[in-house]
Amino acid sequence: MYGKKVKLRILFLSLILAVLILTVFLVLKSLEENVVYFISPSEIKELGEIDYNKKYRVGGMVKKNSVNMSADYVKFIITDFKSEISVKYSGVIPNLFIEEKGVVAEGFLKDRNFLEASKILAKHDENYMPPEVKEALKEK
């Protein structure tokens, strides 16, 4: 019915379409799995159900006099002046990690009051605050 060339072209186009669909599917799936959500301590309290296998980023201020150092880890409290959450972290501490300054900790929630962090984010300059933190603080 169709010439050889047309058939070839249809085949080629459908192949491209299939590849495109596959790509989009792969990208979306991979996005879904690897996305890290940002929340403030108050939002954790309001969270309906906690996904213990999902990474969260918690942002806020390091509470005054809450930093507790030991050889293996550092413990501190992140507050957004409404709620707070304890964080335990072992690893590299960025230079700008200072009490009463903004901080973002990334890790797994153990329960509503405790986060085991695997990363603390560093910032470029001392005046800079992650937009997330700024907003969380603004809402207080």
């Binding site: 996005l31 996305v35 929340i39 150092m69 050889a71 590299v92 001392e126 005046n127």
Partner: protein, 620 residues
């Protein structure tokens, strides 16, 4: 005084820009020869912008705090080198640098394009001037570097200490040369479309510009990486941070374009694809500037920003995209190109172009998806490295294999499809080696191991190709450099080790195979900071390494930076970074072993050298 000179030369440059737009369009319409006048005007515009840049530079060198930009970003106690680099270390100055490079390239294009079609030349200058005008307006309305502070402050606020670093001092200008180089590619391809001038002559001209931008972009990205490696002390070279991604995207696009221009030059094929790539490269560079400068990106690199600036660039960007789309669809009347798929060099290049576009889309989605999601649902997310690794690694396998085999194929059609024995032997050999690596070392990242054999294969083939007289030296060298890059990246991520611990002075601690000792700490006052030098010993298998990592406490602005102590040799980097916690005696110590770091930098340099050789040949 200085401020006024700088400001007024910018105003003059703006007027001249409008004159050039008018004149160049007139010459294009009337099809006259370009007259001497235009050269005079273009060079005087460049001269004026130069003066304006120099006055800002002088204001920084002499710490003229009546200038707002100087007041915010400089301090009289800063070393001279960083006073100079402070000129482009801030937003206003860096835009002025953009502008300087834009007009410089405009001038160079004018001088170097004498042999080309006249209408094409004047139209290219027209488009380039539109970009220059856009940037001039941007500078005037949102980020004038010559704002006055009254009364004049006695002392400045200081440059962010983390930016006071040799690699980062030259990183922005070089990266900008790469970004801005793509502006000429953009203007010239729009103009070639209108003049119906997409031919071999145009291709060989645009190839030079592509190579120039590509070289600078490669070196610029590398410098940024090196800086992140030792200054941020994260102990890696790539973090899939949005700001890094933003520079990677134009690089991918340029690399694809580079290969396309060869096809166009040799075979007059892939015309519209080349144009699309040329346009997207510049659009991506501009969006990069937009994303970094607007503060939309949620990145650790982000500086404090002004949303108004972002809006302006966004409008300008939309405007540019619109014109290019209109011109593209109005003038895209290329004859049906030969699209049949044959086993040839072109097909290899086209296929790998598609792969590069795929990588680009993955990076693009990963970078902008969080922005869109936040705008729509107000949910804040970030996309982590696993996303990029999962989507890119599997597709690198065919990419690397095609990259290994492609250069040897012939143009048009590869008649004799002979499979050489050496290639098969090498293939088996690389699979065997990767089997040995997986078997003998307890590797943590299994996912990555699938890349070992194709990358080794590419490495072997490109080593053999180095002796092939038929291939171009530039191509051989760059492919060789890339193969080393990919092999060292893989081995680096497979065999990196790190331990970290908090210790007080005099304490020691055993962590897996390593014994870390915190011996001593000394305090010295240097120029504009206090240095705390720790002495850390790391003992493994009875071998003791002494490290002297440093902490710098800056007074203005009050900041702490860590300087890692890195012991480098060809196969291994050993480094110790310390951080300090206020009000405690503890030092946060991290020891890392990073194999093949040096090779990663060397291979990036090889890539750039390959590009330079190609450029030299093209200018002959």
């Amino acid at each position: 005084m200085l401020n006024l000179i700088g400001n007024y030369s910018l105003v003059l440059a703006l007027t001249i820009s409008i004159i050039i737009i008018f004149l160049s369009f007139k010459t294009f319409k009337s099809k006259e020869n370009i007259t001497f006048n235009i050269f005079f005007i273009i060079s005087s515009q460049f001269f004026l912008i130069c003066i304006s840049f120099l006055t800002l530079l002088l204001a920084f060198v002499y710490s003229d705090f009546s200038n707002l930009a100087v007041y915010f970003n400089s301090h009289s106690s800063k070393p001279l080198f960083y006073k100079i680099s402070g000129t482009w270390g801030n937003h206003e100055g860096s835009l002025l640098l953009w502008l300087l490079v834009l007009s410089l390239f405009n001038l160079i294009f004018y001088i170097k394009s004498k042999k080309l079609l006249n209408a094409f030349r004047s139209l290219t200058i027209f488009f380039q001037q539109i970009i220059i005008l856009g940037f001039l307006l941007f500078i005037f309305f949102t980020s004038n570097p010559f704002q006055l502070v009254i009364p004049t402050p006695i002392e400045g606020l200081g440059l962010n200490p983390i930016l006071q670093d040799p690699a980062l001092a030259i990183h922005p200008p070089i990266l900008y040369l790469g970004y801005v180089g793509s502006s000429i590619i953009f203007s010239s391809s729009l103009s070639a479309l209108v003049c119906n001038y997409v031919n071999k002559e145009w291709a060989s001209d645009i190839k030079k510009w592509t190579l120039i931008s590509w070289i600078f972009l490669t070196v610029g990205i590398m410098l940024g990486s090196i800086w992140a490696y030792y200054e941020l002390g994260w102990g890696g070279f790539w973090f899939w941070d949005p700001v890094e991604n933003v520079s990677l995207m134009p690089w991918l696009c340029l690399t694809a374009l580079l290969h396309c221009t060869s096809v166009l030059k040799k075979r007059l094929n892939l015309k519209s694809w080349t144009i699309i790539l040329a346009i997207s490269t510049f659009i991506l560079s501009m969006s990069g500037t937009f994303l970094v400068r607007s503060g939309i990106l949620n990145s650790v690199h982000t500086f404090a920003n002004d949303p108004e600036r972002g809006l302006f660039i966004l409008i300008f960007l939309t405007f540019l995209i619109l014109i290019s789309l209109i011109i593209y669809f109005k003038h895209n009347n290329f004859n049906q190109e030969n699209k049949s798929f044959i086993f040839s060099k072109e097909s290899a290049i086209v296929i790998n172009n598609w792969f590069m576009m795929y990588f680009l889309s993955v990076v693009l989605i990963g970078t902008v998806y969080p922005i869109f999601l936040e705008a729509i649902t107000n949910e804040k997310i970030s996309v982590g490295p696993p996303y990029f690794n999962q989507l890119i690694i599997p597709f690198l396998i065919p990419f690397l294999i095609i990259m290994a085999l492609g250069p040897k194929l012939e143009w048009i059609k590869n008649k004799k499809v002979r499979v050489k024995l050496t290639k098969i032997i090498l293939f088996v050999l690389s699979i065997f080696i990767s089997y040995l690596i997986v078997r003998h070392f307890s590797t943590k990242v299994l996912y990555l191991t699938i890349l070992i054999s194709p990358s080794l294969y590419l490495f072997f083939i490109s080593v053999i190709d180095l002796n092939d007289e038929k291939l171009k030296l530039s191509q051989k060298l760059s492919h060789f450099g890339f193969s080393i890059l990919i092999v060292s990246i893989i081995l680096n991520s497979l065999f990196s080790e790190e331990v970290s611990v908090n210790l007080k002075k005099g304490e020691e601690r055993q962590l897996s195979n390593y014994l870390l000792k915190f011996k001593n700490i000394t305090k010295t006052e240097i120029d504009n900071f206090t240095s705390l030098k720790a002495e850390i010993h790391v003992i493994q298998n009875n071998k003791e390494l002494k490290f002297y990592p440093e902490l710098r406490l800056y007074k203005v602005p009050e900041t702490i930076t860590s300087e890692a102590d890195i012991k480098t040799n060809l196969f291994n980097d050993n480094l110790v970074v310390v951080n300090y916690l206020k009000d405690t005696d503890y030092l946060n110590i991290r020891y890392q072993k990073k194999p093949f770091m040096l090779l990663i930098w060397i291979s990036a340099i090889l890539l750039a050298i390959g590009g330079m050789i190609g450029l030299r040949k093209d200018f002959k």
